[in-house]
Symmetry: C2
Subunit: 434 residues, 2 copies
């Protein structure tokens, strides 16, 4: 069995303490074999973590990775205008080849900032799976179905496509890809389609990922039409449950929080996107108190505008305090926990912790920098001072996907050139130029 030794570092343990230890990884099984005193293990291959801090790979639990092509394309607009005036017109022009390049770019950015797993919502999903296979992280993918504005045939076809993609791509990229069924949101998928297709997805054992309660514009129509809060409606159509998670959950009342907790439904908090689109502040402290599993997501690069989970951890801790009007809400360790174990739980794998038996997904940071000095508390630094560029190595599924900030086999410069070219061409097409 081929083994990798992550040696010489300090390790963030599941109890959020930090200790000097080596980490032994089974590369074929993609699992952590053990964590022990420095020098306790030998192995075929070694990853030098000297003076480094070994942390679980970060989990970006809600993103649209191919949207890196739209980074900086349109900013400073509310969600509805941003989608209608800018994003949907360019998305209408997106080809499978564009999605492939955008996904590669985003995955490279993620790996370079210590993210080893993502949960993505988009279309042209086979191309995203190919990009995942090439770049190396773990991903939960799915085809996002929308029925509003479509005739019944097209609406049904989109729902079917979501089921089909979830069935077909599960297990791709050597098992690193798993899937979810993805009705886009409670307002963009008609009730009849939810009532028909959600049970089908459940019977097929598929996990479910959807948007909910992001803005008041997503809440008010549901209340008006159904006379109940959106998550009560979601429960009624079968969307809630231990195999489900929703993104955002900004505008929720106490009963909805209890409903999520009671059904075991997870929430992905996207603080940067919620700030940038002025959607509001999710009550993360209250979710956690109620026992809801919370992960953290960057959302797409169009509304963030980067995919650096360290920004997102910091934002989660910061906004959590503002939302609660309490500086002790969402402390550093809670934010780090959401970005690691919380996300892994939502995505459905045993990870987000450096411990024997967990998946071998980790990042090695270099804390030897002015902005991370002094070293009073490394967990505090992870939440409040570290940034993606502090990551030196990234390991996913036992494989070294970045070593000394280089991704083996990836020509980053050529990728950036292709991404720029695709992005400019796309905007020109959307503008009717070509």
């Amino acid at each position: 069995m081929s083994e990798l030794l992550v040696s010489g570092g300090q390790v963030l343990r599941p109890d959020m303490t930090v200790e000097r230890a080596d980490v032994l990884v089974d590369q074929e099984g993609g699992e952590i074999v053990g964590v022990d005193d420095p020098g306790a293990f030998g192995a075929d291959d070694e990853l030098d973590a000297s003076d480094g801090l070994v942390i679980p790979g970060l989990v970006n639990a809600h993103t649209h990775v191919a949207m890196t092509l739209f980074r900086g394309y349109a900013d400073d607009k509310p969600l509805d205008r941003w989608l209608e005036e800018d994003i949907w017109p360019v998305e209408a022009e997106l080809t499978a080849a564009d999605v492939r390049v955008g996904a590669e770019l985003g995955l490279v950015e993620m790996v370079k900032s210590g993210t080893t797993a993502l949960s993505d919502m988009y279309f042209h999903v086979p191309e995203i799976a190919d990009a995942v296979e090439e770049i190396g992280p773990r991903a939960v993918l799915g085809h996002t179905a929308i029925t509003v504005g479509k005739d019944d045939d097209a609406a049904r076809a989109d729902m079917e496509r979501s089921l089909e993609v979830a069935r077909e791509l599960d297990g791709a990229a050597n098992g690193r890809v798993t899937t979810t069924f993805q009705p886009h949101s409670l307002t963009t998928v008609g009730e009849e389609y939810l009532r028909e297709f959600v049970p089908t997805a459940r019977e097929a054992g598929l996990r479910v990922h959807f948007h909910a309660n992001e803005t008041t514009d997503e809440v008010d129509p549901i209340v008006a039409e159904h006379g109940v809060r959106p998550l009560e409606y979601a429960d009624d159509v079968g969307l809630l449950g231990a195999e489900s998670f929703c993104a955002h959950g900004v505008h929720v009342d106490g009963a909805e929080i209890e409903l999520l907790a009671g059904t075991g439904t997870g929430v992905v908090h996207c603080p940067a996107s919620n700030m940038k689109l002025a959607s509001g502040m999710a009550p993360v402290g209250r979710y956690r108190e109620a026992g809801v599993t919370v992960g953290i997501g960057t959302d797409g690069a169009g509304s963030n505008n980067d995919l650096d989970m360290f920004d997102e951890i910091r934002d989660a801790a910061m906004v959590g305090k503002l939302a609660a009007d309490d500086a002790s809400a969402v402390p550093a360790a809670a934010a780090v926990e959401m970005a690691t174990r919380g996300g892994a739980e939502l995505l459905g794998f045993d990870g987000g912790r450096i411990a024997a038996g967990a998946v071998a997904d980790l990042a090695v940071l270099d804390p030897d920098a002015a902005h991370l000095t002094p070293a009073h508390d490394l967990v505090s630094h992870l939440a409040y001072a570290a940034r993606g560029s502090d990551v030196r190595h990234t390991v996913c599924d036992g494989q070294v996907v970045m070593r000394d900030r280089e991704l083996p086999g990836v020509d980053e410069r050529a990728l950036r050139d292709r991404a720029n070219e695709r992005a400019y061409d796309l905007v020109a097409r959307a503008d009717g130029g070509t």
Copy 2:
């Protein structure tokens, strides 16, 4: 005359457009001589900005730089408990030598993230001036006076000290240091001392820097005691005016905003600190609409926890939208403007712009990175996606203070070691250990 040519880059111009240009710098005068087409200038020395983006050096308009020693020492507490239980006990143990090391560490962090000017509030100010001289940025320094909890002699001595430091250190570090008179805040300096010493400072032509309206705990006692809002009281004791700026300004009413605008008093917005201490959200959009000059500050590393102004620009844009409940509030260019020209205006120098006649303070970023691709809009990237580690070179007052991420003459590793040692020793003393 010794000249430096910043060549081969794209330049962010004062109108927030970006164009290919070279920048010629007079090193003795510390001024930009001209900005022209690539190849238009020749010079003795050259700074390679090929493929780089040349921006005005960032201005950190409110910080306590020596507090880097407390980074990560105490988190996740509200302002009053954080100060009383954690910060004041360690500050009581701070020696001049500690402040020197903490300041050096913070200044290195700033230079490495593209900050070329800061406005600092602290004590042991001569040591901070020495650190500024050594590391190379521009700084507006001052001794912060507090009178509450002191007898009259000690209170008067502290106010006198603030005047004296402002007079004596003005022009230090080859003119890069200027000064402000610094009554700490409206609640920590007694009214009689404000009424006596503020006019003295005004007569001496000193600028004034103070904290105001950071939390409701700072507002309510003023209203209770004086029957007016804090900034009305500040105006009454002579604190407002074109030569004054206050930090925070979170809890203000419309009349106070008008008062700041009418008197020409500036505000330093510290979004990260205000989130982390759950102080609230400053109405930055409303300040700007009213014509108040707004700068951006990191506050101290104890409540941030880093001094990276790119985080702060992003936070200002993000929180500005949340506070206004409007995604078009505080757009990218406005956030960049506050962190450059806005801050320079408050600090009292002609900077924050790459143009002939302005001070030669600039940073060169490397936009050739996955997280800054595609290049739809570099101003958007500055606000939402760039981070301090993207800065390749930093120039202040015509001198190269960082070249290819190295600070000439600074042994960073030795400095980090000294800072760790000082910080641990300080905490041990505060805990009564040694």
